[in-house]
Symmetry: C2
Subunit: 166 residues, 2 copies
Amino acid sequence: MSDKSERQGYWYGLESRKQIGAVDVLNALRDYRAAEAEMRRRTRASMGMGETDLVALRYLLEAERAGRDVGPKELAVRLGVTSASMTSLVDRLVRSGYVTREPHPTDRRALILRPTPGSDQEVRSTLGDMHARMMEAAETLSSEDSAVVVEFLRRMRKAIDGIAVS
Amino acid sequence: MSDKSERQGYWYGLESRKQIGAVDVLNALRDYRAAEAEMRRRTRASMGMGETDLVALRYLLEAERAGRDVGPKELAVRLGVTSASMTSLVDRLVRSGYVTREPHPTDRRALILRPTPGSDQEVRSTLGDMHARMMEAAETLSSEDSAVVVEFLRRMRKAIDGIAVS
DNA sequence: TCAATTGCTTAGACAATCAAGATACATGTC
DNA sequence: GACATGTATCTTGATTGTCTAAGCAATTGA
């Protein structure tokens, strides 16, 4: 399991070079991606709940605290999954007792998702922890460095977005 | 479909602020992730092949060019998937005619995966294109900026890795 | 009024996972 | 050498979570 973190290391002897180049950046990006996938797997294993479910639940809790009603549609858009996936995601959350489906007061097609009392606890103790760590890491960046990172990610996104044609 | 790229925008009015902070960084990271997922979906749609399959095939081609034999095990470790997933991945590649399974000369448990002639073309025209764009984007970073990005990604990875406990 | 749109669900396919099984190799002990 | 135990490689089967496509019911608006 722990070999995953190091598995790129031998490709380019990072230690022996002073200059950090494009290849190192892409490798770092790949490593980050792998860590993320691994985290998702662990989360699922440790608490029988995928990361997407967790993020969804947290979003519902935040909305509830702000006094805002949220339905499957908004949640699906926010999380970037299809409405079909959202249906089964909500199924899971309902089955596990974290949320309830309630009818929308005026639109009879729509639903309102309401987190059950006690869900809060569960979420806070897992995802919140990680999010705090990530925020902490991001906060150590100076404003200039933040700009560099944001710009880099933006460019990477552009590079990836432009592959549609073929 | 295009709403995905912008869907965070309204949260924090980026335009109205000069300072770029931690929240912006995390948002950029999330956007990048979404773009990546979208790319994977598109790739699958446009050439009936998932990104993982493509990366696997490219790795095999690279290894072939270097005169190195690669089996499912090494490939699975390299790509960060389980050996079970690798079995079905190889099944797909064989079924599509991109690689063949050949017996290992000395170890009768093991296999050697050999890309068929012509696979090269297919890979080069899709993934290579994107990879080139990403490399290009990474190369515009100065050495100092590269270091910043790499360090940031490394910290993010650490933040994510440390969530195992619970 | 009636066609288009919206919100949610269902059905079917696919790629990944885990758990368990079948061979084959490796190593120690007799 | 022969045999037992352990480890490694690959496969299979069941489950999970995602997707697309198609469908139904309610709403909007021309």
